[in-house]
Symmetry: C2
Subunit: 187 residues, 2 copies
DNA sequence: GTAGTTTTTTGACATTTGTCAAATAGATTT
DNA sequence: AAATCTATTTGACAAATGTCAAAAAACTAC
């Protein structure tokens, strides 16, 4: 839950209550390496918070597997557009390795918010947080060359490289695996 | 306010009240063509909702002017990361033509939320809405070729092309003006 | 430890896009 | 209408990236 706490003033007593309530709604699930957690075409009903290991959201573009998002400890993943809009998802989610993740269901969040509307604020703050992450991602894609994107990713998520194939990283930063390989060779 | 209403169930009486309160906080401002509305380096204190005409958010990358976002009627613009995080903005905002826009200040929104925490939900819904727009933008950038991005933009915002220079559109879809010109010539 | 599988790298070449400079077209001002 | 300014297009070439095929390296399972 670190990522939520990070952006909220935990001196508010209400926050403590909110976090406790959230914890109680979370279930710990176990996933095997390469296990599919969510499949494109269905509605995404859960957010996943990895406790260890990495999860990956991806989709297919003309048979090519493109990574949209990685989530390790302290981060989260869901087919968020599907989760929010309750419509079919284009994303798949899979475990990149044997791991555990806390899950939080759409239903449970809605009921919690309905029961405690004062918690809306924390969901808003969470959304603000992930919105800004996305905005940074766009800047990165528009602004930077492939090489710069690669170097920024190393700085920002160094642990990623011990867990994730280079092919997935390449598609995440929007280039082919071969190009990534050549960028790496340059150093 | 169309964009807010679109995504909220207006049968809730509370929503009507919320919208009324928002309206009352909004101020109508007038801008001249090419007028700078917000300057990089300062904190963005307002969201702008054009009534007519187009506004543009942009930044500089190595002296090149890059458009991050267009806003016409029914849409909105702000240096949203700055607005949310209260830190200096890298974005500039300008009017692309003589126009009027409603503005909503950070201060006023905060006070409204503090006075009526039940409204948090609507801000959350608004954030969900703009989050999804951003996610679509990323997919577009990663997924599609320059030509496809151009064609999608025509479909999605046809009016844009009557108001905006091709140079701005080119930087928005992440290509040079010359490349855009060649794409257009192909048809 | 060997065989088999997957991942990563490399080579050769094609394609896309960018850059710079100049030409053209379109607007605006006088 | 001419002069001026701005926006757009075009040409020539350079740079970046993609594609396909094959080799090399790393990892797995027996």
């Amino acid at each position: 839950m670190q990522f939520i706490i990070d952006h909220i003033d935990i001196s508010e007593p209400l926050v403590v209550q909110f976090l406790t309530d959230l914890q109680n709604l979370m279930k710990l699930e176990h996933f095997e390496k390469n296990q599919k957690i969510h499949t494109a075409g269905s509605i995404c009903d859960k957010i996943y918070f990895p406790q260890n290991g990495f999860l990956r959201a991806y989709y297919y573009k003309e048979d090519k597997d493109i990574t949209a998002h990685f989530a390790g400890e302290g981060s989260s993943v869901a087919a968020i557009d599907s989760f929010i809009q309750r419509k079919k998802s284009r994303y798949n989610i899979e475990a990149l390795e044997k791991c555990n993740a806390f899950t939080l269901s759409y239903q449970d969040i809605q009921e919690l918010l309905a029961a405690h509307p004062v918690y809306e604020k924390y969901i808003r703050l969470f959304l603000e947080h992930i919105y800004i992450e996305l905005a940074e991602r766009i800047e990165d894609l528009v602004f930077n060359t492939a090489k710069e994107r690669y170097e920024k990713l190393i700085l920002k998520q160094p642990t990623l490289f011990q867990h994730v194939n280079l092919g997935h990283i390449a598609s995440y930063i929007g280039i082919s695996q071969e190009t990534l390989s050549r960028i790496r060779a340059q150093k």
